[in-house]
């Protein structure tokens, strides 16, 4: 786990003024409970919304990174044990445990990732791999560490293992789905309608009014006409005409 938020700057700013907790919270535009927690140093940085941190740093005139503690110095990774000159020295025996976890994590990620979104239970995994559950847990922890830079994580809830994105990208996914759903290729009739609009004529492409509305709706979805009821070419489409 990471260290708690560095609240010294915040506490100092609070002690400068004569604000009450609620008054100070109102100034910062955050909840009084949140502020109280922050002053006590309770929440960890990942538990606070970024907008809150931004509001605090903006109001107090602090750089955002002043709110995060400096990372502790991590020790250098252990050097590879030297081999014997004749090439018989065994590195795997000596560092066996460490590299096993790495190999296990690779295997776990590969199996779960190939499996897509299906949830697989820890029992199934351990049985299939002929591992103990302890070994599976260790491999899972290593897998989480390795997946983090890619924005993925391994969830282990109710004994089910799955690899999921760390953040919720649902909005982006919805936008992409909408685009796929509405953008279709245009047919000759569509171009005929566009030509008629260009000429200032009424659109007379289809005999059926319903078909005509659907045709114009398709063009409206693509952003070529303004709407299907009172169609006109959009500025985006008119930009293609250079004269």
């Amino acid at each position: 786990m990471s260290t708690p938020i560095d609240n010294r700057a915040l506490v100092w700013a609070f002690n400068q003024g004569t604000y009450s907790v609620t008054g100070f919270a109102a100034l910062l535009d955050i909840g009084a409970d949140t502020l109280e927690g922050l002053l006590r140093g309770n929440p960890r940085p990942e538990g606070i919304r970024l907008s809150t941190l931004l509001a605090i740093s903006e109001k107090l005139g602090l750089p955002l990174n002043a709110l995060f503690p400096a990372p502790p110095d991590s020790p250098d990774p252990e050097p590879e044990p030297p081999r014997l000159p004749d090439g018989t020295g065994t590195s795997s025996d000596e560092r066996g445990a460490g590299s096993d976890v790495v190999a296990d994590a690779e295997q776990l990620i590969a199996c779960l990732y190939a499996d897509g979104r299906t949830h697989t239970t820890s029992t199934d995994l351990a049985t299939a791999f002929e591992w103990t559950l302890d070994r599976l847990t260790a491999a899972g922890t290593e897998a989480i560490r390795r997946l983090a830079p890619a924005g993925l994580t391994l969830t282990r809830s109710h004994g089910e293992y799955a690899i999921v994105p760390t953040r919720n990208h649902q909005d982006a996914q919805t936008a992409l789905d909408n685009r796929h759903a509405t953008e279709r290729g245009l047919t000759h009739s569509h171009y005929k309608a566009v030509y008629q609009l260009l000429q200032g004529q009424n659109v007379s492409v289809s005999n059926s009014p319903v078909q005509r509305q659907r045709l114009l709706g398709g063009l409206a979805n693509l952003g070529i006409v303004t709407n299907n009821l009172d169609p006109a070419l959009t500025p985006e489409a008119l930009e293609g005409l250079t004269q």
């Binding site: 090439g87 030509y195 293609g240």
Partner: protein, 397 residues
């Protein structure tokens, strides 16, 4: 192969040697990343940095894998084709027994492999080599600098200002708008210049399909990339629409049509793009095409023909540029490895389709205008121009 070991007195070794490597000059640099110490470094995983040291482009289709023996065996072919004299290995101390064995196997045609240790790492590197059973010759840093002269900075190439990746994939009605929205102002200006030219020409051209194609081909005569053809197509489509004509286009086939009626005019950038391939047959096919070997003679080229061309440095009086020579030589050596005799075919595709496919795929991936449509032996769809040539003109009124 000579194995040497050296170290600079101070400083960061790769920075001290910057600008001295160029596969074409026979000097390659292999960076073994520290990340690879964390996992098992094998002959397989070391193949990837070796491909990189040769300047291979892993994002080209057909160059993306190091996971089969077949692909890895191309490394030695390319080292031989480049006539590599020096392979300089940085951070070699992290390499294990197996990795070093793999490296020496790949680098068999190389004259000298020099391990460059950072100051202070000399003994660690020496130790790594000894554990793998190799004794390196300690050489002077100055000696290495002598062997690797600073490459003269090449004259700035006139690169095309935009390529296919800068063009929006959308309907031609919105093409100009999206191109503006998705590109920087300078880039859009370059795209728009071509677009406007095509637009204004198409406003006056006689609306007949073959006249339209001729007009487009005229504008693309000097094009060095398929991107310009695409912009020409979009401008033409838009202008014809305002005149009441719908020019339906299958973009990829249209690019093929326009490429096939244009004489090949390869640039240095094109040759460099072909150097990105790991496999040798596809760039070799493209190279012969670009050097104006008649298209229907491509499949019949034999090993002895190529031997003669390589000896004369020319094909039918047309000089082979050094960059192209390496590509042709690489496939020549490859075919010899495969046991080809002088009378055997050089390209040795299984069928004419394979040849067409290689040219088409290389056009799609590198953006070099080329096409083998006249080699296709299909008589179907002759009635449908959209299928045959990728274009169709219909009236909207």
């Amino acid at each position: 192969m000579e194995i040497c070991l050296t170290t600079p007195a101070s400083g960061v070794a790769p920075a001290l040697l910057a600008g001295r490597f160029d596969p074409m000059k026979g000097a390659c640099a292999l960076f073994v990343g520290p990340a690879e110490t964390q996992t098992k470094l094998t002959r397989k995983s070391v193949a990837f940095p070796v491909f990189r040291s040769l300047g291979k482009n892993s994002s080209l289709v057909g160059s993306y894998t190091n996971s089969t023996n077949e692909y890895r065996s191309f490394i030695a072919t390319w080292f031989a084709a480049y006539e590599t004299k020096d392979l300089v290995v940085f951070n070699g101390k992290v390499m294990s027994h197996g990795t070093l064995a793999g490296l020496f196997e790949y680098a068999a045609p190389v004259e000298r492999v020099t391990f460059v240790a950072e100051p202070g790492d000399l003994h660690a590197t020496q130790h790594a080599l000894r554990s793998a059973g190799h004794e390196a010759i300690l050489t002077d840093w100055a000696d290495l600098l002598d062997r690797l002269p600073v490459a003269q900075s090449p004259a700035p190439e006139t690169e095309p200002t935009y390529n296919l990746t800068h063009l929006p994939v959308c309907d031609f009605l919105l093409f100009r708008n999206r191109a503006r929205a998705l590109n920087t102002a300078e880039r859009f200006e370059a795209i728009d210049a071509d677009y406007r030219r095509a637009y204004s020409i198409a406003l006056t051209v006689e609306p007949d399909m073959y006249t339209v194609i001729d007009a487009m081909a005229d504008q693309c005569r000097e094009a060095t990339s398929t991107a310009q053809m695409m912009v020409t197509l979009r401008g033409t489509q838009q202008a014809l629409l305002t005149r009441g004509w719908h020019l339906a286009a299958h973009a990829d086939k249209t690019l093929g049509t326009l490429s096939s009626i244009k004489p090949p005019a390869p640039t240095d950038a094109d040759w460099r793009a072909l150097h990105g391939y790991t496999v040798t047959r596809r760039p070799a096919t493209a190279a012969l095409y670009l050097l104006d070997v008649p298209r229907n003679a491509l499949a019949g080229v034999t090993m002895s023909d190529v031997d003669q061309w390589l000896g004369e440095h020319a094909i039918g009086g047309r000089l082979i540029p050094p960059l192209a020579r390496v590509i042709i030589r690489a496939h020549y050596l490859r075919r010899i490895d495969e046991g080809a005799q002088p009378g055997d075919f050089y390209l040795a595709h299984n069928s004419p389709t394979g040849l067409v496919e290689d040219l088409t795929q290389a056009r799609r991936h590198t953006g070099i205008p080329m096409d083998g449509r006249y080699l296709r032996r299909d008589t179907s769809h002759t009635a449908r121009p959209l299928t045959r040539i990728g274009l169709n003109l219909r009236s909207l009124t």
